[in-house]
């Protein structure tokens, strides 16, 4: 076939096909450009939206590549309790997911739950170097646990003081078993214990030990949460049969199964109210939830409300209790009750009158109030009565701060961006702060305080300056602080990172196909309402892995090669590390790569800048 070369030999005469005689390399078209593309990793909105401050996009990308262990470790850098948050967090990350405006947000919580379950029994990376200082943490709820975990990983000796007999705070004593099995929590707390954290349980700071005695530590983090249920402030509140919501949840979480009678009224529209309603259902009661506004204004998480409805709770909206009555004439005399009386199953030892009904007022919605929700107003002559055996109040909780210095009493505690109170070396977090009372915010505040304490102690030891570049530590301008950034040991290679959040309009959605969001496997309500076993079973592993592949990987180059395919000047080439090089000598600055990049990881910049 030697002659075949001669047929198309361009060295002699006119070329037989339209092919350039010289290499196109001589034509340095790069000189034409006035803007140039730059690979620039930005921040995915989920990362900013996560109050804990987890690199969600990062672990989704690792999962897409099948690097499951690395994904798990990436979560553990920021979140000490992924198996817990995967179950109980109300996932604000999903509300910020860019995929929401394409089809449905990625089910991040389910993916995190899978990673959390894979992490059970696995230890977190220990500190590289031990430090001499010790820190006392008051309270072992999510904020305390997070602070202790991060400080231990930074090398500090940490002692956690917990008033209850087991650590966990609201996770152990507030959240019901059917949402968060105690064994899961115990395993995750065990991982923190394995880092060398000491737990002094049954030690109430203020009663068993004073704050002053904690002065032996170099810093203290207070995260005692909120325990005091707000009162109804109406007649009859002290009658036998009126429960405070937290007390009910605590009793059940302690293994008790209180007799609530046949009819239970729960007052309130928040998550505690939903927990109380679903717990009462499981104790065999018929449950009616009273809420003074309408469904739309309920502060409870949508999924919790749905679950309560499915399990059979009734809701009476626009209903305000005005009196709890114990009038014996109104006691519901039903045959079952008589039998229970006969056999002594019903506790009647008390001579005090027992709850027999709630007198309620019908409400209507008026103008929006300070919270932006429409304020409820009483309708005249709209009173009515709900017959019941038990009333559970869940109107919100307040903190008990008597053990703290007096200047910190009364209302939420104000702290700096790094969790420090007005008192030097005293940091605070969790529900003591003016923040949404959620597990995720608590975990985030614990991490912030750990960074704050680390900075304070290093500064004291002369190892750090007074200033901290907070903007550099946040995941996006609005996000929580990143422990990885604080430690400056990111395992993910970032390309020219900038702390900007990518909007859905920055993405090229035409590169994505629609795919249905994976829905958690839910046990049927007719089954769950009779037991305390976990009601939501999460996603099977393959489904969770598939869900991770739904992630757009907003803002971060994941090596998809769309830029390489679209570059009309063949100026983009792939490097061995999976990232790309741009031959600026030939790139004309047409911007196709940036326009076609599915995830907004390429930015066009002014030439010469």
């Amino acid at each position: 076939m030697a002659e075949s070369k001669a047929v198309l030999d361009i060295a002699h005469g006119v070329p037989p096909v339209s092919v350039s005689q010289t290499s196109t390399r001589v034509n340095k078209t790069g000189s034409w450009k006035y803007i140039r593309p730059l690979y620039r990793d930005r921040v995915a909105p989920c990362n900013q939206g996560c109050p804990v401050g987890i690199d969600i996009e990062g672990y989704m990308n690792l999962l897409r590549e099948g690097r499951v262990d690395e994904a798990r470790d990436l979560v553990l850098r920021e979140n000490p309790l992924p198996a817990t948050t995967g179950r109980v967090c109300y996932h604000p990350c999903e509300s910020s997911c860019n995929r929401a405006s394409f089809d449905q947000p990625v089910a991040i919580h389910a993916v995190e739950r899978m990673l959390g379950d894979l992490a059970l029994g696995k230890s977190a990376a220990p500190a590289l170097a031990k430090r001499a200082e010790t820190v006392g943490v008051i309270g072992s709820g999510p904020a305390g646990l997070a602070c202790a975990y991060h400080l231990a990983r930074l090398g500090y000796g940490v002692t956690v003081y917990e008033a209850e007999r087991e650590p966990g705070g609201v996770l152990r004593w507030g959240i019901p078993e059917y949402r968060l099995p105690k064994a899961i929590l115990a395993s995750e707390v065990g991982r923190i214990r394995d880092l060398g954290v000491t737990f002094r349980t049954s030690t109430h700071v203020g009663r068993d030990v004073t704050l002053a005695e904690l002065g032996l530590h170099d810093a203290v983090f207070a995260a005692t949460g909120v325990h005091k249920s707000r009162e109804l402030g109406i007649p009859g509140e002290t009658l036998t049969g009126v429960w405070r919501g937290l007390d009910l949840l605590r009793a059940v979480n302690a293994g008790e199964r209180p007799q609530l009678g046949k009819r239970v009224v729960v007052v309130g529209g928040g998550n505690t109210a939903m927990d109380c309603a679903r717990t009462a259902l499981r104790l065999g009661a018929e449950v009616t939830v009273l809420y003074r506004r309408s469904r739309a204004e309920m502060p409870a998480n949508h999924e919790e409300v749905e679950a309560a409805l499915h399990e059979g709770a009734r809701f009476s909206f626009l209903t305000l209790p005005i009196e709890v009555t114990g009038d014996p004439r109104e006691v519901d005399v039903d045959p079952l009750r008589a039998i229970e009386d006969t056999f002594g199953q019903f506790d009647r030892s008390s001579e005090e009158p027992r709850v027999s009904a709630v007198l309620c007022a019908r409400m209507e919605l008026g103008e929006p109030d300070a919270s932006g929700r429409r304020a409820p107003r009483r309708i005249e002559h709209g009173e009515f009565r709900i017959v019941c055996d038990t009333v559970v109040t869940a109107l919100g909780e307040e903190a008990e701060t008597d053990y703290l210095p007096t200047e910190l009493h009364g209302g939420a505690i104000r702290v700096t961006a790094l969790g420090e109170t007005s008192r030097t070396a005293l940091f605070a977090g969790g529900d003591l702060l003016e923040e949404p009372h959620t597990v995720a915010f608590a975990l985030g505040s614990g991490k912030r305080a750990a960074i704050g304490i680390d900075h304070y102690l290093r500064m004291k030891a002369g190892e750090a300056g007074a200033e901290v570049e907070l903007g550099e530590l946040k995941l996006g301008p609005e996000g929580n602080l990143s422990m990885t950034r604080w430690r400056a040991d990111d395992p993910v290679a970032r390309v020219n990172p900038v702390n900007e959040v990518v909007k859905v309009t920055d993405l090229n959605l035409s590169q994505f196909g629609h795919a249905r969001r994976a829905e958690d496997v839910l046990r049927p309500a007719w089954e769950t309402r009779h037991d305390f076993l976990e009601a939501n079973l999460g996603l099977p592993r393959e489904d969770a892995m598939a869900e991770a592949r739904r992630c757009f990987n907003c803002a971060v180059c994941n090596g998809c090669e769309v830029c390489l395919i679209f570059c009309p000047d063949v100026s983009i080439s792939r490097r061995d590390d999976g990232k790309f090089d741009i031959a600026y000598d030939y790139c004309k600055g047409c911007g196709l790569c940036a326009a076609e990049c599915p995830r907004g990881a390429i930015t066009m910049t002014r030439e010469g800048l």
Binding site: S4, V14, P16, V17
Partner: protein, 388 residues
């Protein structure tokens, strides 16, 4: 190894023995078992080729163009409307001088929808710069498929192998399949003189000004001029190795003939039967088969037909407003023969849309031409077997 196989699979076997490296196809009607078998061969590892499933025939040819430009051996197969959809890119392959090989199952074009044989789909691609080779039986199909790659790569021209729908595509008959080693010796790996190479980048198919476009066209024409001789050498080499040759034009029992049929495709085979019958009766008739339509084998046809008084061309195609396409091209090829040696050329249009061309139909054409002693060419081609 001899096997009883359909014509479609004769193509597949040929492509597989030629070790095509990229096969692109659009898997929908009018697609054939050719790529079905090739897809299976790629899947089970019998053929180490990249099979690219595309979204249209246009894209199939585009993929072949891209692949061929990088120096690999590319193949596709299609039929009727699918081929028509490729039209734009057929030019690109032709002027790009890319040695792509394609098999087309000759099927009538729609409407009305018709999957039966007819040559209009391929003849409509006459001027796209593709060599066209029409086959008569399944053995020729397999041999031609392999030869096509040799021819294509020798001259940097794309080659189209054409076979009649059903009469070859779906008809099983014994085919001698050569061994891979024998074919490897005949057809080495492609050695592309010019190819897309990111290490030595050149612009391909870029703006070509009036100053050089014509020269580029001329070089294409010169390459086509070399096809007859190149194909003859390839066919001779094949004959030495495998004992079979096919030729661009074949004369059959023409030496003393007063009337000669000119045919292509499977009609040729049935026509041979008719010629044999007539010869037994003492009639001086013969046959010329045109296998190669592009480049048109002007010289071989002049040699084959000079001095024969009457020629009947059987066209399974029609150029509306003109006539049977082989007849017209043949008249043009014979035009400058001395008038004494120039045959009268009668054209017959038949078998369109798969209508059966039986020995009786062919006999009618032969009789009409033999029985007509006029010296002038007929002004119009005759439509055979058409209902009033």
């Amino acid at each position: 190894m001899k096997k009883v196989i359909v014509g479609n699979h004769a193509v597949s076997w040929g492509v597989s023995l030629a070790r095509a490296e990229v096969i692109a196809a659009y898997p929908i009607t009018p697609q054939t078992q050719i790529v079905e078998e090739l897809a299976e061969m790629c899947d089970d590892g019998r053929l180490a080729a990249k099979f690219i499933k595309v979204e249209s025939e246009h894209s199939a040819m585009a993929a072949c163009i891209g692949a061929s430009a990088t120096g690999v051996r590319a193949f596709t197969a299609t039929s009727s409307q699918g081929l028509l959809l490729m039209h734009e890119l057929l030019h690109w392959a032709g002027l790009g001088r890319l040695p792509i090989v394609m098999a087309d199952i000759n099927r009538a074009v729609a409407p009305g929808w018709n999957i039966w044989t007819d040559q209009n789909d391929t003849l409509a691609q006459r001027d796209t710069g593709w060599v066209q080779l029409y086959c008569e039986n399944n053995q020729e199909v397999l041999d031609t498929t392999i030869q096509a790659f040799a021819l294509a790569e020798k001259l940097s021209l794309p080659v189209m192998i054409v076979l009649d729908a059903f009469f070859l595509s779906h008809t099983s008959e014994p085919v001698d399949i050569p061994s891979p080693a024998e074919v490897d010796a005949f057809l080495p790996r492609r050695d592309a003189a010019l190819k897309l190479d990111t290490r030595d980048p050149h612009a391909f198919g870029a703006l070509t000004t009036p100053a050089v476009y014509m020269e580029m066209r001329k070089r294409q024409q010169e390459a086509f001029d070399q096809v007859p001789e190149t194909l003859r050498l390839i066919d001779a080499d094949w004959d030495r190795r495998f004992g079979r040759s096919w030729g661009a034009v074949e004369s059959y029992r023409t030496s003393d003939a007063d009337t000669v049929l000119v045919t292509s495709g499977t009609i040729t085979s049935t026509a041979r039967y008719v010629i044999n019958e007539r010869r037994e009766r003492g009639e001086k008739v013969g046959l010329v088969k045109i296998k190669m339509f592009r480049p048109f084998p002007t010289e071989p046809l002049r040699r084959a037909l000079a001095g024969i008084p009457k020629v009947a061309v059987l066209d399974r195609n029609i150029s509306p407003g003109h006539g049977g396409i082989f007849a017209e091209e043949l008249r043009s090829a014979l035009y400058d023969l001395p008038s004494a040696r120039r045959p009268r050329v009668d054209g017959y249009v038949l078998g369109l849309g798969g209508r059966d061309v039986t020995p009786e139909v062919i006999g009618e054409c032969l009789d009409a031409t033999r029985g007509n002693d006029s010296s002038a060419n007929a002004r119009e081609d005759l439509w055979v077997g058409v209902k009033p």
